[in-house]
């Protein structure tokens, strides 16, 4: 009886000793900027997205008006899809893995009008941008863009 009791106490206390602090999950924080692009007589860009102006104007299209629809900071945990709250359609991003400490393998999915528009996996350096775009139904001249950068 005494030996059994001592054994139970040993197991319980050893379990506590063995319990290692939970390792921090592999994750990255992404900045997701949703933009509507169109063409007008007077060019304009939302001040909130001025810092990515080059990436949008370099886009091979004739747009000159860019409006921020939404902007969100999303934490991606490895292997766990995270919803992107978009004003137009819906999106999802997943951190597949971190490569060579500085590159991110990210999967991005965008749905618009209930249909999948794009499903892509990109390996990109931390700090670089991935911009995914598609024409908006109707005129099909205006664009819906999603710029994502992670670090």
């Amino acid at each position: 009886m005494r030996a059994l009791f001592a054994l139970i106490v040993t197991i319980v206390m050893s379990g506590t000793a063995f319990a290692q602090p939970k390792a921090k999950a592999v994750e990255t924080t992404c900045d997701a900027i949703e933009v509507s692009a169109s063409n007008a007589k007077d060019p304009s860009i939302d001040p909130d997205i001025k810092h990515i102006q080059k990436k949008l104007t370099d886009f091979p299209a004739s747009w000159n008006v860019f409006k921020k629809l939404s902007r969100a900071s999303v934490t991606l945990e490895k292997g766990k899809p995270a919803k992107l709250d978009l004003k137009m359609g819906s999106g999802e991003a997943t951190l597949v893995e971190i490569v060579d400490k500085s590159k991110l393998r990210v999967a991005i999915k965008i749905d618009y009008n209930g249909k999948r528009v794009v499903d892509t996996t990109v390996t990109v350096e931390a700090g670089d941008y991935v911009v995914v775009g598609h024409p908006i139904s109707g005129s099909k001249k205006d664009g819906h863009l999603l710029a994502v950068t992670c670090k």
């Binding site: 106490v9 390792a23 921090k24 990436k55 971190i98 350096e125 670089d128």
Partner: protein, 188 residues
């Protein structure tokens, strides 16, 4: 050396079992007989010893046993038992009495656990590569000039076609993925 009958008389006297006349006779004998006096004193000491021992032993009998004794007596006599109320120990009392009972077990367990923990600390394997030590930077951001070009590993554009462009400026790379719906006549 006295007769056995004298010794029995002495014992009865020591126990207070003799009547007044016989007791007076024994007292007279004891006054005259040194040997008898010594025996009587020895008998007195023995009785005292026995009484003390029994008192001590009765202190160790738990209250519950007394309860049972009272119940048995009451049952035999045929009257309802009037058991003296027993005070139950409080939570702290129960905890401390439990520790008093199992102190040895707890100490043995704690010492064993300490030894196991020490061995575990010595033999503990290094953290898995996939896990990151808390507080350390998760991802290294390279200077723009040192960054590698992005790689589009897979691209699925149901109901359309995808165009991939890679733009590079002083801020780094930008991967552009433009999806043109299949029914679009005028693309970019």
């Amino acid at each position: 050396m006295g007769k056995p009958s004298d010794d029995i008389e002495l014992m009865q006297h020591a126990d207070g079992e003799l009547d007044e006349r016989a007791a007076a006779s024994v007292r007279t004998r004891v006054e005259k007989d040194t040997d008898a006096r010594t025996k009587l004193e020895a008998l007195g000491q023995m009785s005292e010893l026995m009484r003390s021992h029994l008192e001590l032993a009765s202190d160790h009998v738990p209250d519950r046993k007394f309860e049972n004794i009272w119940r048995t007596i009451a049952r035999e006599v045929g009257t309802p038992a009037e058991v003296p109320p027993v005070r139950k120990p409080g939570m702290w009392g129960r905890v401390s009495s439990w520790f008093d009972r199992y102190r040895g077990h707890v100490i043995t367990g704690a010492v064993s656990a300490g030894a196991v923990a020490a061995i575990a600390l010595v033999l503990k394997p290094a953290a898995h590569e996939d896990t990151i030590v808390q507080g350390s930077p998760t991802i290294e951001v390279q200077p723009a000039a040192l960054r590698a070009a992005p790689v589009v590993e897979s691209l699925d554009t149901p109901g359309g076609t995808g165009t991939v462009l890679n733009l590079e400026d002083e801020d780094g790379h930008t991967t552009v993925i433009w999806v043109s719906p299949a029914d679009t006549v005028e693309g970019i």
